[in-house]
């Protein structure tokens, strides 16, 4: 076996690489602990137009609604489901919102069924001008839906101006949604 002289350069290389790798790993793990959690108000879809859809009304399945019906004046679109506990708990809040404000709230039931939906709305109240049934979830996919409940504010042209994930409270609606809707109504 040949014996090499101790390879100084090789040693420095090893030492340097190990030191750098250790530092980099620890740094990333540290940063990972403090990564920002996703916000409930999503900015990324601002200004985009609401996806096109054709869905039937739950209470009158012969009547079809498309995204064009959401144009002309600002709308609130609330996506929920009767199988979603948080949505069911949130429904009374929407009933309160509908009583207090005159903005049209369109309900979209995500992958839901007519009977449980109607039962739910009868039991807890119906704040919606009408409810659409996204039975197959296609509208949800087009929106990049990650869960329910979700609320959108659309302007008169049908563009998304606000997008909130999760349930909201009446106070929140008054503070954040109502001013925006007022501004949009003036624009229309």
């Amino acid at each position: 076996m040949n014996i090499n002289k101790p390879n100084k350069m090789g040693n420095y290389l090893w030492q340097g690489t190990i030191a750098i790798l250790v530092a980099v790993l620890l740094w990333f793990l540290w940063q990972g602990l403090f990564v920002k959690q996703p916000m409930t108000v999503v900015d990324s879809q601002q200004g985009q137009s609401f996806p096109s859809f054709t869905l039937a009304k739950v209470n009158d399945t012969k009547q079809m609604v498309t995204q064009k019906d959401l144009q002309g004046k600002p709308h609130v679109v609330h996506i929920f489901a009767s199988w979603c506990g948080v949505c069911v708990d949130e429904l009374p809040t929407w009933v309160g919102i509908a009583k207090k404000f005159s903005y049209p709230v369109v309900g979209v039931a995500y992958r839901d069924e007519v009977e449980p939906l109607q039962a739910l709305l009868q039991k807890k109240g119906d704040p919606f001008v009408y409810v659409l049934n996204d039975e197959e979830g296609k509208l949800g996919l087009d929106l990049g839906l990650m869960g329910v409940p979700v609320t959108y504010v659309l302007d008169a042209k049908g563009n998304i101006r606000m997008h909130q994930l999760g349930a909201l409270s009446l106070a929140q609606f008054e503070a954040e949604f109502a001013p925006l809707l007022a501004t949009l109504s003036k624009e229309a």
Binding site: N2, G10, A81, W83, Y110, R111, D112, E113, P116, E135, E136, G137, K138, G140, L141, D142, L143, G144, L145, M146, G147
Partner: protein, 127 residues
């Protein structure tokens, strides 16, 4: 008590989204295979870490149904991937897209292996 619990049991089962999921039939075995491969590739966005093939969540089911429709119609896997990625971002695919930010991910291991082999060669005679 017994009956209450059984009733609750049935109620819980029946309250799951349950419009008929027919046996998924495909025009050709090739389409069936494409479908099965694709659904393993996408992430269920409402689950901690499962593919849409392995998840019962509604969003996962919606994605599976959509992919089924598109495969039946004859869309290419690339188009299907493109659609879901445009709506959900790269988080939804378990196969990271190849772009400058992921070059190190895809190439790094091979580079490392190459460096290792170089190191091996310096240690070994007559190679």
């Amino acid at each position: 008590m017994q009956q209450c619990v059984i009733g609750l049991l049935l109620g819980l089962i029946l309250s799951f989204k349950a419009f008929a999921v027919e046996e998924l039939a495909f025009d050709s075995p090739h389409k069936a295979q494409t479908f099965h491969e694709l659904i393993k590739e996408f992430r269920c966005v409402t689950c901690p870490n499962q593919s849409i093939a392995d998840s019962q969540a509604p969003v996962a089911a919606a994605m599976r149904d959509d992919i089924y429709r598109r495969v039946q119609v004859g869309e290419s896997p690339e188009d299907i991937r493109g659609y879901l990625l445009s709506r959900y971002g790269e988080y939804v695919t378990y196969r990271p897209r190849l772009k400058p930010a992921t070059w190190f991910l895809w190439g790094g291991p091979f580079i490392l292996l190459g460096l290792g082999i170089l190191g091996f060669r310096s240690r070994v005679k007559a190679c």
